[in-house]
Amino acid sequence: MTDIIYSEAEKTYILHGIQENYREDGRGCEDYRHMEIETGVVSNTTGSARVRLANTDLLVGIKAELGSPSPDNPNCGCIEFFVDCSANATPQFEGRGGEELATEISNVLTRAYSNSTSLDLKSLCIIPKQQCWILYIDVLFLECGGNLFDAASVGVKAALFNTKIPNVTVNQDEDDMEIELSDDPFDVQRIDIKSAPCIVTLSKIGHHHVVDASQKEEACCLARLMMGVTADSTITALKKEGWGSLNPESIFEMMESGKNVGKVLNASLLSLLEDEEKGSKRKTVGFLK
């Protein structure tokens, strides 16, 4: 995490607030901050999205490229996560400074998506054992204001929703296969994100836990539990993180609230994306707001 140093008094202030279910910005323990999502912001990607969660700002770009499937999984396409922390967010990320955090985030994302139910990877296969789509999902952090994991997962899901892979026809000659790409921008394949997970991070602060911790709250937090939660409230990934430990009861409590929060988060994200799609005449503003 980006380093912030707070005095003990400040930490106690945050801690006491959380005990009363009242956080420094007036939220309750299970409330998210204001989130803005916009899809289709980078025109030369297959799918893209920008998420701004309070002052966490990120851009997700997905590029679909043709490649050969992994030998373990010849009938499926692949997804690859890459996270980059731009030095725009904080000078600490200059050069390779953000790499550690970036790997951590991409590992959690990979973990959340590493099951065959989240995404239908079979639909990305073109010719079994030979050709498939590889989705490069690149997350670029532009500003860090806490809760990067959740924001990244929301961005990924939104960008996947926005992804339009050109349809492909395979012409088979005797032993030669020819792949033809459709250049009609409406003749495209969409990705079903109904069962794609969102990550919910629960930060343990004092004896309570909160979702969507701000940067200040993250500085007070000893341990957190990250959960990949789908709309059906199944769990696709769990990961305890941080240098503290948790007792079993609180883990079960955290999982319970993670499940509930995740369900709402997924539902509202989907309805928002569908609304945006319907009113797609709206001009994209990107960073020009």
């Binding site: 373990d72 099951n115 065959s116 199944t234 430990s245 883990i251």
Partner: protein, 267 residues
């Protein structure tokens, strides 16, 4: 990605012969008549062998064997932090987790791949809460884990092994950390899965297929590591976590005994 320039590498593209198995990826049922393929009951862990102190030049070391899963761990330090960027006033631990190149069905590289790096981080997070870091300010303790043979549950075994090695090295700890893993297969929870039972993201279809790894400090009842993979229902997950905790508590006395015995033997 740095390229390994010190070794002469084999051909760039080789294929794993196991891909050509006729039923390569469909392994059939994991449970037949209430028994697992190696004859264990679902809630039965494999026999455990533990031995501290076999690497003499290390400050502490330990070896763990669960049938064919074999892990060795060495602890060095507390020593000075060499890299200036890593400096912190608090004590630090570093973990390097490596599968020996010959340890898995698939050949492993000489350099850490992303899975091994991920395991290193998970190990570190499992152990950090247990170690009294304030006892060695400005210094670091280095842990090196090598999986000599991987037959499933390598991470769980490594957690146990590493905490044993730390205790052997005399690093002050709040408690030992015991690792445990389960495989969730439909309604069944398989304790201590072996390689063919382990969850692989690509082959298993459907909800309630996955795995959970947990690290517990039994005496103070704190969970220091928890990770899961695969899509699981909420209740299954909590059940799996509970099973892991129970299993850790079963292993804990073995760990304690082993340390006590090793101390007795020495005197």
């Amino acid at each position: 990605m740095p390229v390994d320039s010190k070794r002469i590498c084999g051909p760039e593209i080789t294929k794993n012969p196991y891909n050509f198995l006729i039923n390569g990826n469909e392994k059939g049922e994991l449970i037949i008549n209430g028994k697992r393929r190696d004859g264990r009951k679902p809630d039965q862990a494999r026999p455990l062998f533990l031995r501290p102190g076999l690497i003499s030049q290390a400050k502490g070391s330990a070896y763990i064997e669960q049938n064919h899963t074999k892990v060795i761990c060495a602890v060095y330090g507390p020593r000075e932090v060499i890299r200036k960027e890593d400096f912190s006033m608090k004590g630090q631990i570093t973990c390097e987790f490596k599968f020996a190149t010959f340890s898995c069905k698939k050949k492993r590289g000489h350099q850490q791949d992303s899975e091994e790096k991920d395991y290193s981080v998970q190990l570190l997070e499992a152990l950090e809460p247990a170690v009294q870091l304030d006892k060695f300010p400005k210094s670091q303790v280095n842990l090196y884990l090598t999986v000599l043979q991987n037959d499933g549950s390598a991470l769980a075994a490594s957690i146990t092994c590493a905490s044993l090695a730390l205790a052997h090295a005399g690093i002050e700890m709040f408690d030992l950390v015991v690792g445990s893993s389960v495989r969730i297969h439909g309604n069944e929870i398989l304790v201590d899965p072996c390689e063919e039972e382990e969850f692989h993201s690509n082959t298993n279809i459907g909800v309630d297929e996955g795995g959970v790894v947990l690290g517990l400090m039994p005496s103070i009842n704190q969970i220091s590591a928890l990770t899961s993979k695969g899509e699981l229902n909420f209740d299954t997950t909590s059940q799996a976590v509970k099973t892991c905790i129970q299993n850790c508590q079963k292993v804990y006395p073995v760990l304690q005994n082993c340390l006590v015995n090793s101390l007795k033997e020495k005197d």
